[in-house]
């Protein structure tokens, strides 16, 4: 059975999506005192594998997304694409739209992250037929 290890991320820069490549020097400044340190790529790969499970069930999707949103980072577009495809396998459009809302909220004051995510996800959104919250008009009260 696939076990999802819940990890608390210490550094806030981890996995933060930016158009420029991430500086590896950031990893050296992390505050772990012992144990193997997971790289950003390993973290992303782990989560993509989680959401890519072909027979993922609704509980696992919810658990995965709630856990991922609980971390102090904005997930990479690759992870979100895997999550959106999982929503498609589960025939759950509402959750797909909710995921997009959630990552926009996760970006907080950094207003340039969400447009970047949508830009990266645009092919998948078009393929799956997912409308963004902005297109549906639910991003405003």
């Amino acid at each position: 059975m696939f076990r999802v290890a819940v990890r608390l991320s210490v550094s806030g820069v981890r996995g933060l999506t930016r158009p420029q490549p991430r500086c590896q020097a950031v990893l050296a400044s992390r505050c772990y005192s012992h144990g193997k340190q997971e790289t950003d790529e390993e973290f992303d790969a782990r989560w993509i594998t989680y959401f890519n499970k072909p027979d993922i069930d609704a509980w696992e999707l919810r658990k995965g997304m709630n856990t991922l949103i609980g971390y102090d980072l904005v997930p990479e577009p690759k992870i979100l694409e895997a999550a959106l495809r999982a929503c498609r396998r589960l025939n759950d459009l509402a959750s797909a739209i909710r995921i997009l809302e959630a990552v926009k909220d996760k970006a907080g004051p950094h207003k340039d992250i969400y447009p970047y995510l949508i830009q990266e996800l645009r092919p998948a959104l078009q393929e799956l037929g997912i409308s963004t919250p902005e297109e549906l008009g639910i991003d405003k009260v």
Binding site: D92, G129, V141
Partner: protein, 176 residues
């Protein structure tokens, strides 16, 4: 004699217990009239939280026929769903959007208003106290008394080196 006493004690105890039971019964009846609808918290519950994007259960469980058919349509390609249908599907699963969750409540106006109200009320209470509770003003506050007090302090040479009287010019009869 002892038996009588013991019996009396136990019957007293029974009476008090009976009274306690009776009063708690009435209390329960009274309270039951006020209790709101209970929700079974042992089952998965819905919640609107920014940090829990996908709650344990959808907002709407029991669907009408139209909603059921929309759910069936959801199993097909999503590009075939209209904008309104997508919004309807969202609203079936979720109560509030993120924008609605984050909407400012204006609670601060209530807080500031409440602060001003109670400070104002306190002001009224203090004013009433000034009029009806305070004793008469002591005569030592009168300007004439204060002048005499000042003159006496100067005559006594209060703090003559660095303090009070040091600042009075005794030759000229004025402050330095």
């Amino acid at each position: 004699m002892l038996l009588k006493g013991k019996n009396r004690r136990s019957s007293l105890l029974a009476n008090t217990t009976r009274i306690k039971c009776a009063s708690s019964y009435w209390l329960l009846l009274f309270v039951r009239a006020e209790v709101s609808d209970t929700v079974d918290m042992s089952r998965p519950m819905y919640c609107d939280r920014l940090d829990i994007p996908l709650p344990d259960k959808p907002y709407r469980d029991v669907l009408t026929d139209a909603e059921e058919s929309l759910k069936q349509k959801e199993k097909g390609p999503w590009s075939q769903l209209s904008r309104e249908e997508k919004i309807a599907l969202y609203r079936l699963s979720f109560c509030q959007t993120y924008a609605e969750m984050k909407k400012p409540t204006g609670e601060w106006k209530t807080v500031i208003g409440g602060i001003f109200f109670f400070v104002g009320f306190t002001g009224l209470v203090v004013w009433w106290q000034r009029i009806y509770v305070y004793p008469p003003r002591p005569r030592t506050f009168d300007p004439e008394w204060q002048a005499m007090q000042l003159q006496r302090m100067l005559d006594m040479r209060v703090n003559p080196i660095q303090g009070f009287s040091a600042k009075w010019d005794y030759e000229k009869g004025q402050w330095k």
